[in-house]
């Protein structure tokens, strides 16, 4: 126990910061959800985003929606750039092909957390429940990263 803790410290010192933290990962049915993160918000007036990676090890699966106690109106969205103009559309469901993975990430699919009930503070986490058609609801702890974050601060165990 002591030895492995000491070893972990040595590893942490020599690896880049993003490499030693493994993402929180939740598996249920055929889906594995990981790398859930959001950007810190300034107050509660602005909508927040939610990004996550979903791996599907079974037959076709669908993400039907999201729920979270931090926002009254959480929704699946997609950012679309058309003729140079960006807009966000509500997405009814996201299909994940058999033995495939989909990432909700900046510039594409994202969870949109509207009517925020609480400010998202950097360094904290909050739960988000992903509603899958076949695998049911899966809840994951979502890391709140700085406003300038671009990707999850952990390594996906894929």
């Amino acid at each position: 126990m002591m030895n492995s803790t000491a070893a972990a410290f040595v590893l942490a010192a020599i690896l880049p910061a993003t490499a030693f933290a493994e993402c929180v990962e939740v598996t249920q049915g055929n889906v594995t959800v990981s790398a859930a993160w959001s950007r810190a918000t300034i107050g509660t007036e602005r909508p927040a985003v939610f990004y996550v990676t979903v791996r599907n090890d079974g037959s076709e699966e669908r993400l039907m929606g999201i729920e979270t106690p931090v926002a009254d109106v959480p929704m699946l969205h997609e950012t679309v750039v058309e003729n140079g103009a960006a807009r966000m559309s509500y997405v009814e469901q996201i299909v994940i092909a058999p033995i495939d993975a989909v990432s909700l990430e900046p510039g594409g699919y994202h969870g949109m957390l509207m009517d925020l009930q609480t400010e998202l503070v950097e360094g904290t986490t909050f739960p988000v429940t992903l509603l899958f058609e076949k695998s049911g609801p899966v809840t994951i702890d979502t890391a709140v990263l700085p406003l300038r974050a671009r990707e999850a601060a952990c390594e996906e165990a894929l």
Binding site: R39, I42, E45, R46, P47, A48, V49, T53, R55, V73, M75, H77, E78, T79, V80, V81, E82, N83, G84, A85, A86, R87, M88, S89, Y90, V91, E92, Q93, I94, V95, I96, A97, D100, A101, V102, S103, E105, P106, G107, G108, Y109, H110, M112, M114, D115, P146, L147, R148, R150, E151, E156, L158
Partner: protein, 196 residues
């Protein structure tokens, strides 16, 4: 990162199911060559200072349209720009970078200052009376559209690319959101080489 490949897109409508705005953003940016020298808007910076297009002439400028309530595309654009500035190193010192808010109702100079303090300090925010912002967008050939939401709130669709102006005040290129990052810095360098 896992590539999001091989899945079907299921793009739905907003819950209201009423989409008149979705068909209307049709104008392509940059079809008419924008020229700072012939523009006449007057905006206010996040520091409360008046800014006019002629003040940009003589230096290379990047300008993009966005708003601080925009949770996905705008932070991404700000981060992309921060990366380019870093890659340009000392050469970035002669650059002016401006975010023009398409949401002047909420983005006052104070709100812009608070928001931009989270990003590269060289990025300046511009806002103004709604009709001045509309005039500026028109001068830049940019489009934006306020989209109401069911709960009474709203979001804004807007031109997403970063426009690059040379020291001569003429549009040199547009860096699109999904452009290969390796083309961005060369586009900026090309603009810098233009004669005043």
């Amino acid at each position: 990162m896992v590539a999001a490949v091989g899945f079907m897109l299921a793009v739905g409508a907003w819950r209201s199911g009423d989409l008149p705005w979705q068909q209307q953003v049709t104008e392509t940016v940059g079809t008419r060559g924008a020229n700072l020298g012939t523009m006449s808007w007057q905006l206010t910076s996040h520091k409360g200072e008046p800014v006019s297009p002629q003040s940009w002439i003589g230096q290379t400028s990047l300008v993009f349209f966005g708003f601080t309530w925009c949770p996905d595309v705008c932070p991404m654009t700000l981060l992309n720009i921060s990366d380019w500035l870093e890659e340009l190193g000392p050469d970035a010192d002669g650059l002016a970078v401006h975010l023009v808010s398409v949401d002047p109702e909420r983005d006052t100079p104070e709100v812009l200052a608070d928001y931009l303090s989270n990003f590269d300090p060289r990025i300046s925010g511009l806002t103004g009376a709604p009709d001045e912002v509309a005039k500026a967008a028109d001068d830049f050939n940019a489009t934006y559209r306020r989209v109401p939401r069911d709960d009474g709130d709203y979001t804004v669709d807007h031109t997403a690319g970063v426009m690059v102006f040379g020291p001569d005040g003429r549009l040199s290129s547009i860096i699109d959101l999904h452009d290969d990052p390796k083309f961005a810095v060369p586009k900026i360098r090309r603009a810098m080489e233009r004669e005043v």
